[in-house]
């Protein structure tokens, strides 16, 4: 396989593996815990390395996963003490564990390949050079195998525990009363997050882990209100960010991991502005429409108010409305056009407006409300 295909394949697998648990991180409003875990796993890697003295030993993954879970437990314990809020607890725990790891590396492992820069940004371009060979046969990049396994693990766990995760995320009290312990589910889920963070961290670094776990699900949530669709969209968005990120990095000659992370952000910004229902543009459009609708009601009430009065001939003049209701000529025209279209008013001559029976009813109802 050509190198660039291997890198992209790895990126796609990492992206999908991260996005799956990311959906529930976002829904449980614990997005930041992914940041904490993806940093503090370094301590587990370092400690396990001191134990086995081999950077490729599987014990490193076990150690890293254990510190991931330790992070969650420490955050929870601090939070539960009632003296620290949850966000502060996260910000207290992971820098402590991460800095401890950095100190240990600097002091005792300076000569080996465990440098802080590649921990943060990873070096996905180098991942394919670490191969997995069995009996002299090259089976491909080791990270690809590991992340493929983690992807299958995550997909399997989500399928198996779909309804349990759903109910314990939506309504933990109900889940508990039905006999699905939210604590057990929480730690099972956080174990998945830790394993994923460890595997992905090795391949792409901790910043991209957070970007791939959080941004695609947050983007998907703007685009759908079905959980299953949200999961599918999250995976698709993460994969798209991975592939476009790779080519953007190639074109611009920049860090691949950084470029992929940036692409997850680009996807979010696009959805934030353009999402059909929840996007900024959609809500601006909605507000403008509501303003015209409401102003049409104002117009109807105004006309009703002056119907049959002495000043009716003045108050129903189109040019008077601009003064009375302080509408710009352009806005007044839009309001009147719409009111005519829905049959509330009709024009008499060029200058005068008259309520239709429907408009009269609408105005009366509108005033009661």
């Amino acid at each position: 396989m050509p190198l660039h295909v291997e890198i992209q394949l790895l990126a796609v697998v990492v992206a999908a593996a991260c996005a799956l648990p990311g959906v529930f991180l976002v829904l449980r409003r614990v997005a930041l815990i992914s940041d904490a875990i993806s940093h503090s796993v370094l301590l587990g890697i370092v400690l396990a390395f001191f134990w086995v003295r081999d950077l490729t030993h599987p014990a490193l993954i076990l150690g890293a996963t254990a510190t991931g879970i330790l992070t969650v437990a420490l955050v929870e314990a601090l939070h539960r003490s009632g003296r620290v809020k949850e966000d502060a607890a996260i910000a207290l725990v992971f820098p402590a564990l991460f800095s401890l790891a950095v100190l240990l590396i600097a002091r005792y492992a300076g000569q080996i390949h465990l440098d802080v820069h590649s921990v943060l940004l990873g070096e996905i371009a180098l991942s394919p050079f670490r191969r997995w060979e069995v009996g002299g046969v090259d089976l491909g990049p080791r990270s690809l195998w590991m992340m493929g396994g983690i992807l299958i693990l995550n997909a399997g766990a989500l399928l198996l525990l779909w309804k349990e995760l759903k109910v314990s995320t939506f309504d933990p009290a109900l889940a508990a009363s039905l006999g699905f312990s939210p604590v057990v589910l929480h730690y099972a889920f956080m174990t998945l997050v830790s394993v994923t963070a460890v595997g992905a961290f090795d391949a792409v670094g901790s910043i991209l882990v957070v970007a791939l776990m959080i941004a695609p699900p947050a983007t998907a949530w703007l685009l759908t209100d079905r959980l299953s669709v949200m999961v599918g969209l999250s995976v698709a968005l993460a994969v798209a960010a991975a592939v476009t990120g790779f080519w953007a990095a190639w074109l611009l000659d920049v860090s691949i991991a950084g470029s992929m992370a940036a692409m997850t952000g680009v996807g979010f910004v696009l959805a934030f502005i353009l999402a059909p229902d929840r996007g900024v543009l959609a809500s601006l459009r909605r507000r403008a429409r509501q303003r015209v609708e409401f102003s049409g009601m104002l117009l109807a009430v105004h006309l009703l108010h002056h119907e049959g009065t002495a000043d009716e001939s003045v108050e129903t003049r189109v040019d008077h409305l601009q003064k009375h209701l302080r509408w710009s000529p352009d806005f007044a025209r839009r309001v009147i056009d719409r009111a005519e279209r829905v049959g509330w008013v009709r024009r008499e001559g060029r200058e005068r407006l008259r309520l239709t029976p429907l408009g009269r009813e609408t105005a009366k109802v509108g005033m009661i409300r």
């Binding site: 309804k163 759903k166 109910v167 009290a173 699905f180 079905r226």
Partner: protein, 296 residues
Amino acid sequence: MSNGMPPSRDDAPPGHPRGRTWNRAGDDPDPSVPALEVDDLTVAYREQPVLWDVDLRIRQGSATAIVGPNGAGKTTLIRSILGLVPRAAGRVRILGSPLEDVRRQVAYVPQRGSVDWDFPTSVEDVVLMGTYGHLGWFRRPGKREREAARRALERVEMAAFAHRQISELSGGQQQRVFLARALVQEARVHFLDEPFQGVDARTERSIMDVLHELRDRGDTVIAVHHSLQTVPEYFDGVVLLNVRLIAAGPVDAVFTDENLRTAYGGRIPYRSPTSPTSPPPPGASPAAGPPPPLEG
């Protein structure tokens, strides 16, 4: 009818006639066994008692209001009975057994505000969650469960909303969805935490109709309730709580000025049942007679 079937602090005599409308899995529990027995229940939060030595008996086939001032521990009482907050001391029996053995007989409707209504899911899906307890781990709801969810939604007049996103619902509709979710649990003892909070008068009436239906077929309804005015109309029994148990029993015996004054520390936000403008006289059951006209 369950006229005069209030909770009592003694073991109640048997003999409640059941108006079962459908059969449910599991054996009928002996009707003489109390629906709920609580002995010496104490719950503390950081060594501060939130509930202090509560003893309670509530008989099957009754509707009971849990009433008390803010901070009285009403929600905590329900949550500790359901094992959602740890008990410092005390024993709880539901239908004569520990909770773990009768989980499927127990339904819980938490406060509407306790969940995130922006969660990406539909009304039908929320109701289906009520079937998860019967399904157990790993099994997914199927055709039968969907059918049960549809029936429950019809009963709370929400069938037309089955495929709506839950964030589009009004407060009253959310509450009815929660009630439908409790109905598909096919439980016998139903705990509700402020089912009428933020709900209009018409919805309140239709929720109460469903709860009375449950009671009339022999189920037990236990609800945290805020409006003292409607206690005599809606409920057979009342639990007056203010950290300690002030009184518990039939509405006409327990819902007195004196007890209310004790519970609320002298200020009763309500005219007593004996005052002339109060709803039905003591002894009247809400199930007897035609329902009062709807307000609004």
